[in-house]
């Protein structure tokens, strides 16, 4: 569901949910003494809900790619299904977790709508880079916008490069020598 929902809409509902009048926002206020809305923790929570679905796809791909083979081999060696999963599929899919984690993180860094809705734009508290860029442009401070945008672009490039490099190495390590 969060995969297809517009971020602003999701942000709005989360904002309502985070309000101290609601069960979730209320209990958070009672526990920590601060509101969930317009706080850093609120941002983390909202980003988590928004971004987690993006982890599902790379993870599913990683598991599908492994197929039934390792499970069958493990069973023939006396491993129960749970044992087999923990000792073969889990470690063999490790590139899936990393790829999924890094991509989701990069995706979250660039998120705008939901962050603005839930976090507001409090300097030093909930102002994130993408919102800072927007604000710099609004106030015609192009110098700062250039620096921030350049930084984000470099970051994205490095992340992409890292993921590709890692995936290639990993794919190589999984392929028998004769098949390369």
């Amino acid at each position: 569901m969060p995969l297809v929902m517009p971020p602003t809409v999701l942000g709005f509902y989360l904002l309502v949910l985070f309000s101290p009048d609601n069960a979730l926002g209320g209990s958070w206020l009672a526990l920590t003494g601060t509101t969930l809305a317009f706080s850093f923790y609120g941002l983390v929570f909202a980003s988590l809900i928004y971004s987690l679905p993006f982890m599902v796809q790379p993870l599913t791909a990683a598991f599908t790619q492994l197929g039934r083979g390792p499970m069958e081999a493990a069973a023939s060696l006396g491993a129960s299904p749970m044992d087999a999963w923990l000792t073969t599929i889990l470690p063999m899919a490790r590139n899936g977790y990393l790829t999924a984690g890094v991509l989701t993180f990069a995706h979250t860094v660039g998120e705008f709508g939901i962050v603005l809705m839930v976090g507001g734009n409090l300097a030093g508290e909930t102002r994130v880079i993408s919102i800072a860029i927007y604000e710099s442009v609004e106030t015609l401070n192009y110098q700062e916008a250039y620096i921030l945008s350049g930084g984000l672009m470099a970051f994205s490039f490095v992340v992409l490069l890292g993921v590709y490099q890692f995936n290639r190495q990993f794919a190589m390590s999984l392929t028998p020598r004769g098949m390369r």
Binding site: A74, S76, L77, G78, T88, M172, T175, P176, R177
Partner: protein, 373 residues
């Protein structure tokens, strides 16, 4: 002893097999797509089937009961390489060994023994992706043994290996199979491999068994299974031979078969004293007179013990059974030193061949290779 009586349906294939498989190596032979792998998967419990499977008096499966693979104790060497890439060779071997030990199961195979037998000591710390094809096949087979199996299923374990690598593995397999008294099913469609390794043979077509029995006998009547659409390879005979000496300069090994000499090409010196050879029936020619100067180096003497007209795919041919034991002229005394020759019916008539006649069997050395070629 493995007894099965199972039925299953997958895609176009209807599997319907009832047989029992004793200790030692049994070949499962048949054209591709006939259901060999499906049968193995059903035996392992990876493919649902109806009916009963019993191994050493333990019911693996019958109406209302089903034991999953990890409880069946089946050593399964899959057709594809299924080593765990995140574990070293040692880790792969220990995977099944530790679990068997934890469950208190043993067929008396120690890890060190398997490592020594498969010559894996230098590979132990390596990861599967650094192994050659032959090495990885060896580790696959060794790993399945480490789990102390009650039954060994080998699905074309030598497929995709060149002759040299096969030559590395076959001696291992042969000795392991001989020493372990557990039923072993060996899927293959290569006559030579079967002749060298297997004591018994099952022939399968379209999901059912059409022939079964001792390898030597079944190989000799394989032509019956072949039709216009399907070929089961060449029929032939199994020869038990012992090595006399190896002529390295000419890459020729001299063998003793029923007291007669047989010369066979072999690039390397055979590692064992006793060999089994597959001799295709079409590669044997017959002569009534002592042949003179010619390139064929093997001339065996024997007596005709049977003449059979062939039909179907082999129409126009006659199978001549020849006993190489000179003392037994005319009397069929088992399978040990009997060869079969396929010659044309016309040649058979012209020569006037009949039971009891002494003949010379001509075999080209070039047509025979040792298990190590």
């Amino acid at each position: 002893m493995l007894s099965l009586d199972i039925q299953a349906q997958t895609g176009d294939l209807t599997l319907n097999v009832a047989t029992s498989i004793g200790d030692g190596v049994t070949a499962l032979f048949g054209p591709s797509g006939c259901g060999k792998t499906t049968l193995l998967r059903a035996i392992a419990g990876l493919m649902p089937s109806e009916g009963t499977i019993r191994c050493n008096n333990v019911v693996w499966q019958s109406t209302g009961t089903f034991m999953p693979l990890h409880q069946r104790r089946v050593g399964y060497v899959f057709q594809d390489d299924r080593l765990f890439p995140h574990l070293t060779v040692a880790g792969n071997l220990q995977y099944g060994f530790r679990r068997a030990k934890a469950a208190g199961l043993s067929i008396g195979l120690e890890l060190q023994e398997v490592v020594a037998r498969f010559d894996l000591e230098p590979l132990l710390q390596r990861y599967p992706n650094t192994l050659s094809g032959g090495e990885s096949r060896r580790v696959n087979i060794a790993r399945s043994l480490c789990s102390q199996p009650q039954l060994l299923l080998l699905d074309e374990p030598l497929t995709g290996l060149d002759a040299q690598r096969k030559a590395d593995i076959i001696p291992y397999l042969a000795t392991v199979a001989k020493d372990l008294s557990i039923p072993t099913v060996y899927v293959s469609h290569i006559n030579d491999e079967i002749a060298q390794l297997c004591d018994n043979m099952l022939v399968m077509t379209a999901g059912t068994l059409i022939d079964e029995g001792p390898t030597g006998e079944v190989l000799g009547r394989l032509w019956r299974a072949s039709g216009p659409d399907q070929s089961y390879g060449d029929p032939g005979s199994l020869l038990e031979a012992s090595v006399m000496h190896f002529d390295e300069a000419n890459a020729m090994v001299h063998l003793n078969v029923a007291g007669q000499e047989l010369q066979v090409i072999s690039p390397t010196e055979p590692q064992t004293q006793d060999l089994r050879l597959f001799l295709a029936a079409a590669d044997v020619a017959l002569s009534l007179d002592q042949p003179g100067r010619m390139s064929i180096r093997n001339v065996l003497t024997g007596a005709i013990v049977g003449i059979r007209q062939l039909t179907g795919a082999k129409i126009g041919l006659v199978a001549i059974d020849i006993d190489l034991d000179a003392e037994n002229h005319g009397q069929d005394k088992g399978n040990d030193h009997k060869i079969v020759a396929h010659i044309s019916a016309a040649a058979c008539n012209d020569l006037g061949l009949a039971r009891g006649m002494p003949v010379y069997a001509l075999i080209k050395s070039a047509k025979l290779t040792t298990p190590f070629a």
